[in-house]
Each structure stands twice: as structure tokens, then as C-alpha cells.
Amino acid sequence: MSIGHALLGLLEEQPRHGYELKRLYDERFGISHPVKFGQVYATLGRLHRDEMVDIAAVEAGGGPDRKLYLVTPTGVAGLERWFLEPDPPMPYGRSALFTKVILALMSGRPAHEILDRQRALHLRRMRELTERKRTAELGVALACDLELFHLEADLRWIELAGKRVERLRAALSKREG
């Protein structure tokens, strides 16, 4: 996800300091991947350079935390364009799991074991997310849902891959027999 657009969206509500943007970003979008302070300030610097944010005030004392940022009309226009632009589908074929299974099949390693191990790990993460969701506020619950559905999609692929591996193995042993 573009951190810049998330920050613009947070600034659209009201002007904010960098540390507040970091806190809000982590609360609302960073359930699995909190953003680093350095990333926030680097992104704000880039947005300022591109005239998408402006500095509303600089409080006495210096340091990056003292600047109050606000979104400019250019920034709002950029945000509007981003909202309407669909994201390209993710290139899942490059996942490490996919590569492992293919290489295991090529080298005669036990693909089932790879799939079983991944399933166990996925389910452990899904249990954590399910538990977290029970008491979470709406934004966090939605983030948990998104991750849960993606993990479930992986697992469905794992089940299908398991079946295909079995078929391939049966076909090979028939040919050899």
C-alpha cells in the first residue's frame, strides 16, 4: 500500500504532526506492519516537495516533530485519483510457497510435507487474528478480516495443490509400473 496516500487521507481529516500520523497509521493500517518514523518523515518530505502537503506551522524547539502538516488542493486531487484507480492484481505466482512446491516436485522432495507445514503455520496465524478480532474496534477487525481471507485463499490453494500432487504421483507410479 502507498504510505503517501494513507498519510494524505489522514491529513484530509485535519492538519497533524508527524508523530500523530505515525500513531494513526499504525492503529488503522499497520496491524501487521507498523510504519517506521523515518518512513513517515521521508514520505512527508516527498509529499512536501511535490506540493501535496504544506507546513501549516512550525512550533518552537526545532526537530521534525514540531511541524504541523496539512494537505494541499494538489494533494486532495492526487488522493481522489488514487481512490478511483483500481490496484493491479497481486503477482501471487512469485510467492515463496509456490516456488518451493514446484521445486519440490521437480526434485522429488515431499511436497505434501511443505504444504502441511505451511498449513499449520497459516492456521496458527489465523487463530491469533480470530482471537484479536473478538475485542477489536471496526478498523482493526476489518484489517484482521482482510488477512484472514487472504490466508484462507492460500490454504485453499494448498488443499488443491495437495490433491494435484497426489494425482501426479499416482500417474507417475502407474507409468513406472
Partner: protein, 237 residues
């Protein structure tokens, strides 16, 4: 417990419910092929596996609804195969609760009558049975449909009534076979949350059959069935 091959066998001492080397065939089709598993008291265990893997057959054997061709089911130290039909029926009525994919409520009865039915069958007086059923309807947030029949409620409401009916007798074990299979994601989540949290509050054991990982994620642990056998429990590297 680990077998000599380093694979978890899931069978050991201290289990509330155990299946030992279960085998079951339907004609030429092998549903269970030497499956052993143990469930401890108060545990929520998900049985995961694709369609046709044998998970529903496992549930029917564990609950004493059908006998295995070979192997044993042991519940609280007693082998189910050694019990008479009358004892088995009483066991299922008093100690087990069931939730199925499509609720399977009695269509002629209202929601409250469906929930109080197991109590009435166990000899509880009507007034007491209704009062306990009403309390469960309120706990599961479906008191407003108490006087409606199954055909007059939504799928989510009917499934919550089914959960209330499964829990009203205070069973030791609830067997749930694809309890959210007919529901959309949000209603499925509500039913699972109610089923699992209520079971945990009461120390009820739940055996949850599902092919959905999101449903299995409500359990304390999962076992995976593949072609009538338990998939090996991965040993950490």
C-alpha cells in the same frame, strides 16, 4: 505423544473422547482408514479436510451414531461399541449436543419449542424447560423469534436456534458438522463466536467439522484428515 516415526498420533491418556484405529467403508469407498485421535475435556478441536476425506464419518462414529467396521471409540473410559442402543441413545441425549449445516430444526415447532425439546425428552417439566430455553434464546440474541417456526426465520437465526438447542441440556460434548456451511461470512462469524465462547464459558468440549480454515481458526487446535487418515502433525524443524 509421538509415534516411532516422529509423527504425532494424538492418542494418549487423559482423553475425554478417543478414536482408536477406526476403519469404516461404505461399499468400495473407504471413509476411515485406521484413524486415531484424542480429544481432551474442554477442548475445541477442528477437524479439517476436503469433501470426501472422511471427516463427517468420523463425527458420526465419535458420537456413536454409526459403528465403525473396526477400531474403538472410547468416551469417558467406556467403549461405545460395548453399550446397548438404549444406553447409547441416553448418552447422546444427555451428554452430547449436535449442530448441523442446515440447523435441522423441527419445522412444525416454534423456536422455543425446538430449544426446549431435548429437555422435554429428558423429562424436564414444560415450564422449567421453556424457562431454560428462553434464557438460551436471550443469550444467543434470538429471543425475538421465540414464537416463529423454522421457515419464518433467516438462516442465521435458525442456526443460532440450533446452537441453543445443542447447548440447552448442558452437554459435555458438542458435535458441530459444518455449522456455518449455509451462512454468509458475517452470520457464520456470529454463530461461531456464540458457539465457541459459550462452550468455553461452560467448559464444553467441541468437535468442529469444517472445510473452511476461517471456521477452524476458532478452535484451540486442528487435526487434518486426508483420505480417511490423519495427516501427519508437522514436527518443528
Amino acid at each position: 505423544m509421538r509415534g516411532a516415526d516422529g509423527i504425532g498420533t494424538n492418542v494418549g491418556e487423559g482423553a475425554l473422547l478417543s478414536a482408536i484405529d477406526l476403519r469404516k467403508r461404505f461399499g468400495a469407498s473407504v471413509a476411515l482408514d485406521g484413524l486415531s485421535v484424542e480429544v481432551r475435556g474442554g477442548e475445541v478441536v477442528a477437524v479439517l479436510g476436503p469433501s470426501g476425506s472422511g471427516k463427517s464419518t468420523l463425527l458420526l462414529c465419535l458420537a456413536g451414531i454409526i459403528p465403525p467396521d473396526a477400531g474403538e471409540v472410547v468416551y469417558r473410559g467406556r467403549t461405545l461399541g460395548g453399550l446397548s442402543d438404549a444406553v447409547l441413545t441416553r448418552l447422546r441425549r444427555d451428554e452430547f449436543g449436535f449442530v448441523f449445516q442446515f440447523g435441522q430444526l423441527v419445522p412444525e415447532l416454534t423456536a422455543i419449542d425446538n430449544v426446549s425439546l431435548p429437555l422435554r425428552l429428558a423429562g424436564v417439566r414444560r415450564r422449567d424447560a421453556d424457562s431454560r430455553a428462553q434464557a438460551w434464546l436471550e443469550r444467543l440474541d434470538v429471543a425475538d423469534v421465540a414464537d416463529k417456526r423454522a421457515g419464518e426465520m433467516s438462516g442465521g437465526q435458525a442456526q443460532r436456534i440450533a446452537v441453543a438447542r445443542a447447548l440447552v441440556t448442558g452437554p459435555r460434548v458438542v458435535f458441530a458438522d459444518e455449522p456455518t456451511g449455509s451462512l454468509d461470512s458475517l452470520n457464520g462469524e456470529i454463530v461461531m463466536e456464540l458457539l465457541v465462547s459459550t462452550a468455553r464459558d461452560h467448559g464444553t468440549t467441541v468437535v468442529l467439522i469444517t472445510h473452511e480454515a476461517r471456521v477452524a481458526a476458532y478452535a484451540d487446535r486442528e487435526i487434518v484428515i486426508r483420505d480417511g487418515k490423519l495427516a501427519p502433525v508437522p514436527v518443528p524443524v
